[in-house]
Amino acid sequence: MGMGKKLSQIDRRIIFLVIGLAVALPLLFPIGLQIRVSEPAQRMYKAIDQLPPGSKVLISFDYDPTTMPELYPMNIALVRHCFAKDLKVIGMALWPTGVPLGEEAFEIAAKDYGKSYGQDYVNLGYKAGDIVLISNLGKSIPQQFPIDFRGTPLEELPIMKGVRSLKNIDLVIDLSAGFPGIVEWTMIAGGRHHVKVGGGCTAVSAPSYYPYLQSKQIVGLLGGMKGAAEYETLMNARGAAAGGMDAQSIAHLVIILFIFIGNLFMFLGNKGKA
């Protein structure tokens, strides 16, 4: 057996060990690489920054713990920005698993900015219905969510005063890990009810939202952990995402190296056969 073939059949546990170290070491010993802010993240930041104090922002937590490393840091950063600008934040979820994640992000940011539940933010929780629910929110929010996540009737919450439907929302931000997510909010809330829509998504799904970004159907986009790290940079608050970018950088380099070695052995093998 030639050396090329031997190396191409390398024990995958060695690959696992190398990638494990590539991720773990930068997390333990941060490099502190400089983060460049992309245009989609800048647009998202600007969309929130331009809203006058007291504006209503609806954040939909449409993700779950599997995509938490990418979407949870941006959830915290976005809520922090809203609180810093004195915006009123209404949370909800089309994914049942997103509710506690959104709630925890609220708790963390509220503590930092001294915001109170019911007055400055509220979590309406989960309701089944996907795209149909978004459509119904365009008619009436209290009809779809008569009570919040904690069981309080909506009319008892000061933040919900004057909020009857999506027409009373100034910006919708969807944190999306798939279906239902940004596309559905853009189609119904944006296209049908003319509400501004922005979002955050996993890195793997970000390329599919670029047409919406280019046509300005969405005001901005945070793609994956990189998007979250860019938002943290814009907020001047280095958090979990910015810290994770060192690990992602090294992991990408290692994967590129694996691709290169794999192709080199294939090339050498082919040359040997010829």
Partner: protein, 206 residues
């Protein structure tokens, strides 16, 4: 009649949903609201049906002591505990449900997904090969985007992020848009076939 009635319902509901988009006024608009309310109720029942189905499948596996029946026991146990704690004591912060979600469900789900990094690394070594020109183009694009999307790429060469942005904004957007238009045309044609009763697979068979 077993086929005609569902086909008639599909035709009426389908036409109402198409017409309401252009004429959102009475009586079509009201019918649209009514159908949407029904859809929410059906969604809620589908969840109950899904849970029931899960219990039946895993209950059968345990009863027959099929291979891996222990995992089914754990699944049903987890399901029962989460339902009882959620309905019994609520789901807000400070409750047992919230604690279990954050200290069991979150780490377990994250661990399962994190395994993907190892398999991607292994697959990149074994399968991502430039066997022809198209594969070579894909490989080069992937490498450039991977470098351009991380801070290390910029540290290595300042133009990597610029190239990655161009790939995302131009060839990627063009390709995505073409796919979306194709899908949209497919959806319109399939919807018309279903509304007009030409496509009947949803009724079971044919």
């Amino acid at each position: 009649m077993r086929r005609q009635i569902p086909l008639a319902i599909t035709l009426v509901v389908g036409l109402v949903m198409v017409v309401q988009y252009f004429v959102p006024h009475k009586p079509v608009g009201n019918l649209y609201d009514l159908f949407n309310t029904w859809a929410i109720v059906i969604f809620a029942f589908a969840i109950v049906l899904g849970v029931g189905n899960l219990i039946k499948i895993h209950g059968d596996r345990i009863y027959r002591l099929e291979r891996g029946w222990g995992y089914s026991v754990l699944l049903l146990l987890g399901l029962t505990v989460m339902i009882i704690t959620g309905i019994g004591w609520g789901i807000e912060p400070g409750t047992s449900f919230f604690y279990l979600y954050w200290h069991l469900y979150v780490p377990m789900s994250s661990t399962m997904f994190a395994l993907l990094a190892f398999f991607i690394a292994s697959a990149s070594y074994r399968a991502f090969r430039a066997r022809n020109f198209e594969a070579f183009l894909l490989l080069i694009s992937a490498v450039l985007v991977m470098l351009g999307r991380v801070p290390m790429g910029k540290a290595l060469w300042g133009q990597f992020p610029v190239i990655a942005d161009w790939i995302m904004k131009v060839p990627n957007t063009a390709g995505q848009r073409a796919i979306m238009i194709g899908i949209a045309l497919g959806v319109v044609s399939t919807s018309l076939r279903i509304i007009l009763g030409i496509e009947r697979a949803h009724l079971g068979g044919e």
